[in-house]
Amino acid sequence: MHWRRWLVPLSALPVLALLAWGLTRDAHTIPSPLPGKPAPDFALRTLSGDSLRLRDLTGQPVLVNFWASWCLACRGEHQVLVDAAQRYGPKGLRVIGVVYEDTRENARQWIAERGGDWPNVLDVGSHTAIQYGLFGVPETFFIARDGRIVYKQIGPLDPAAIDQWVPKLLASSAATGPNVPEQPFAQGKSEGYVRTSPDFPATRGTTKPN
C-alpha cells in the first residue's frame, strides 16, 4: 500500500527530466536542415552588375556569407573574411558575399571602406536568403567541392570556425559532384567571379580616417 506515497514524487520525475533537458538547451539554437544537403543554387547580380551563378563554382569550396551594411556584427566579421580570403584564397577557397536587405549603394560603400576582393551579390526580394533558411545576418554557409553545405555558421565568423572548417572544405573531393572543369568560369557570364579586381578598386581611397 505504501507505494502510493511515492506516486506523486515519482510522477514528478519525468517532468523534472523534461525540464532539465529543456532548460539546459540554448533556446536560440535552431537546428538547420541544410547541412549535408546541396547548396541551393542562385544567380544574382554582383554589385558591379555582373551575374554570378553559384552552380558555376561547383568543384571549388565556397563560403557564402550573408551580410548587410546595417548589421553591426558583420563589421567585426568582415576582417575575419578578409583574412580567410587571403590565407585560403590561393589554395582554392572562394568567398561570395550575399547582400541581404540592403541597397547597392550602401553595400558598395561598405566594401569600399572595408576592402575585400570577393564578389558580392545583391539578393533583391530575399529569395536566396529564404532558400538558405536565413534567420538574420551574418550567416555563413561552408560549401564543399561537391556543392554540399558542410556547415552553417549562425552569427559572426571567428578565425576558429574558419580554421576548423575551411581545411575540411579544401580537402573535400568533388567526386560526388558533377564534372567540373579546372577553370569553370573561363567564359560566359560567370566572369564576374574571376575578376581579380574587386568591385571597388582599392585605389579609390575611401577609407575613412576614423
Binding site: 506515497r5 523534472l16 525540464l19 532548460l23 536542415p33 548587410a68 553591426l72 533583391v124 529564404i130
Partner: protein, 438 residues
C-alpha cells in the same frame, strides 16, 4: 481576358521595391485576386516568422516576412498545394518554421499525452467512485463505519486482527468446500476493503497523535517516522521531490542565464545591432527577435536627422524617398525626391529619385508626368530595374500599350536580378504577348 486578370491579380502584391504600383493596381484586380490571397493568408498564418517572436509571417510586418509571403504567393500561384509550400519552408528552416508542429514522431506525444492523461485520470476517478459506491451499498456492515466510528486505536487494531483472521478463515472454508468461489471472492473483497479503511484510519491516528505532545511542525515528521517504523512519511517524499526540483532547476538555469551588459538588448543579442539603413525591416542576427517593425521608422528618423544636419545629403534624401514611398507617405516622399532631383538633376544616382517620382505621379493619376519622370530616370540610368518595372506597369496597366510594355518587361528581365518581381513580370510579359496574337 482571364489571363490578364490573373496577371493583374499577381500584381496586387505589395513588393519591397515597388509596393505602390501593385497596391495601386489592386483596385482593378480584386476579384481574381481574393481566392489566391485568402489561400496565401491561410498558409502564411501557419508559418513562423524567423525574425520575430512567435509571430506568423502573416502577422509580422517585417521585411523578411513580407518576402516570405511573396514566396508563398508565388508558389501557390504556380500551382503548389499549401502542404507543398509548407514542406518547402520546412526544408529550408526546419520544423521550427511550422507554428503547429506535425503530428508525427516525437511530436505525436503532444497529441497523445493529453489523451493518455485523460484516460489515466478517468480510470483513477472511476476506481475511486467504484469504491465509494461499494462502501455505500454495504450499509449495515461495520466496515464503512470502521474508520469513522471506531476512533480508538485499540478498537481499530482489534478489528483489524479480527478481519485478518476472518480472511484466513475464508480460505480454509473454501478449501473445505463450505464456500463457493464467488462467495469467497465477495467476502474477501469486502473484508479487504474494510481492512484498507482501517489501515488508513490507523495511519491518520498515528499522524495526529504526535502533534499533541509536540505540535512543532519540524518535530512531527520525525516522530512520525519513529512511530511508523520502516515507513517513510509522505512529507519526506515531498520534501525530497521539491529539493530535487530546486536543484535541477538551479543547475539548469545557471547555464541559461546570460548576463546582460550595460546597454545590451533585453532580448539577448549576440552582438550589437544597428538599425538598418535600407528599406523594410529586416532584423539582424540576435537582435532580430521582436524588434523588426519599428526599424523602418527608426531608419527614417535617422535619415531625417541626417537631412536636417545636411540638407544636401543626396543618398539620405533618396533613401528617405524610397522609405516614405513604401509607407505610402506620398507627399513627404515627393518632397525629398524633389529635393534630391534639384540637388543633382543629372547625376546617375538621381535616377532612383526620378523613378520614385514617376511612381508617385502615376498613383496620383498623372500618367504623362509619370512617364516623363521615368524617361528621365532611364536616361540617367538606362537599366535601373525599378524604373523599368514602373514603366512597364504603366504601359501595361495604364496606357495598355502591349507592344511597349512587352519591350520594357523584356528589358527588365534582361537586366534585373531575379527577385520576387521576376515571376510577376514574366506573367505580365506573357499577357502582353497573348494580347498581341489575335
Amino acid at each position: 481576358m482571364r489571363g490578364i486578370l490573373v496577371v493583374v491579380a499577381m500584381l496586387a502584391v505589395p513588393a519591397s521595391t515597388s509596393g505602390l504600383p501593385f497596391r495601386v493596381l489592386q483596385g482593378t484586380a480584386s476579384q481574381a485576386d481574393t481566392a489566391l490571397e485568402s489561400r496565401v493568408r491561410e498558409v502564411a498564418a501557419t508559418l513562423r516568422c524567423p525574425v520575430c517572436q512567435n509571430l506568423s509571417i502573416q502577422d509580422s510586418p517585417s521585411q523578411l516576412a513580407q518576402d516570405m509571403r511573396k514566396v508563398v504567393r508565388e508558389r501557390l500561384a504556380a500551382g503548389e498545394t499549401p502542404e507543398q509550400v509548407r514542406r518547402y519552408f520546412v526544408s529550408r528552416y526546419g520544423e521550427w518554421v511550422l507554428l503547429k508542429p506535425r503530428a508525427s514522431g516525437v511530436n505525436l506525444s503532444v497529441w497523445l499525452l493529453p489523451l493518455v492523461m485523460l484516460l489515466l485520470g478517468g480510470t483513477v476517478i472511476w476506481v475511486a467512485v467504484q469504491r465509494w459506491v461499494e462502501r455505500g451499498t454495504r450499509g449495515s456492515a461495520p466496515a464503512p463505519g470502521a474508520a469513522g466510528v471506531l476512533r480508538d486505536v485499540g478498537e481499530l487494531r482489534s478489528r483489524r486482527s479480527a478481519l485478518q483472521a476472518s480472511l484466513k478463515e475464508l480460505d480454509s472454508e473454501f478449501d473445505a468446500g463450505r464456500l463457493s468461489a464467488a462467495d469467497r471472492e465477495y467476502l474477501r473483497q469486502r473484508d479487504q476493503a474494510e481492512l484498507t479503511a482501517i489501515n488508513e484510519a490507523l495511519k491518520q491516528q498515528k499522524k495526529a497523535a504526535p502533534e499533541m505532545p509536540a505540535p512543532t511542525p519540524a518535530a512531527a515528521p520525525a516522530t512520525a517516522e519513529t512511530a511508523g517504523g520502516r515507513r517513510v512519511p509522505a512529507a519526506v517524499g515531498w520534501g525530497a521531490g521539491v529539493a530535487l526540483f530546486g536543484v535541477v532547476a538551479a543547475l539548469s538555469l545557471k547555464g541559461s542565464i546570460v548576463k546582460r551588459e550595460a546597454g545590451g538588448s533585453i532580448t539577448g543579442t549576440q552582438a550589437g545591432e544597428a538599425p538598418r539603413p535600407t528599406s523594410g525591416g529586416g532584423g539582424g542576427r540576435g537582435a532580430t527577435f521582436g524588434e523588426v517593425g519599428p526599424l523602418d521608422s527608426l531608419r527614417i528618423a535617422q535619415l531625417e536627422a541626417r537631412v536636417r544636419r545636411d540638407s544636401t545629403d543626396e543618398p539620405a534624401l533618396i533613401e528617405l524617398g524610397h522609405l516614405y514611398l513604401t509607407q505610402g507617405r506620398l507627399r513627404e516622399s515627393a518632397q525629398v525626391n524633389m529635393k534630391a532631383v534639384q540637388l543633382a538633376p543629372d547625376a546617375e544616382g538621381t535616377a532612383e529619385a526620378f523613378a520614385h517620382m514617376g511612381m508617385i505621379l502615376w498613383s496620383t493619376g498623372e500618367m504623362d508626368g509619370a512617364l516623363r519622370s521615368l524617361d528621365k530616370a532611364l536616361y540617367l540610368h538606362p537599366d535601373l530595374p525599378e524604373a523599368l518595372l514602373y514603366r512597364g506597369i504603366i504601359e501595361f496597366a495604364g496606357r495598355r500599350d502591349m507592344k511597349e510594355a512587352q519591350a520594357t518587361f523584356e528589358r527588365y528581365l534582361a537586366v534585373a536580378p531575379p527577385s520576387a518581381n521576376t515571376a510577376r513580370v514574366k506573367a505580365m510579359l506573357e499577357a502582353t504577348r497573348a494580347s498581341q496574337t489575335p
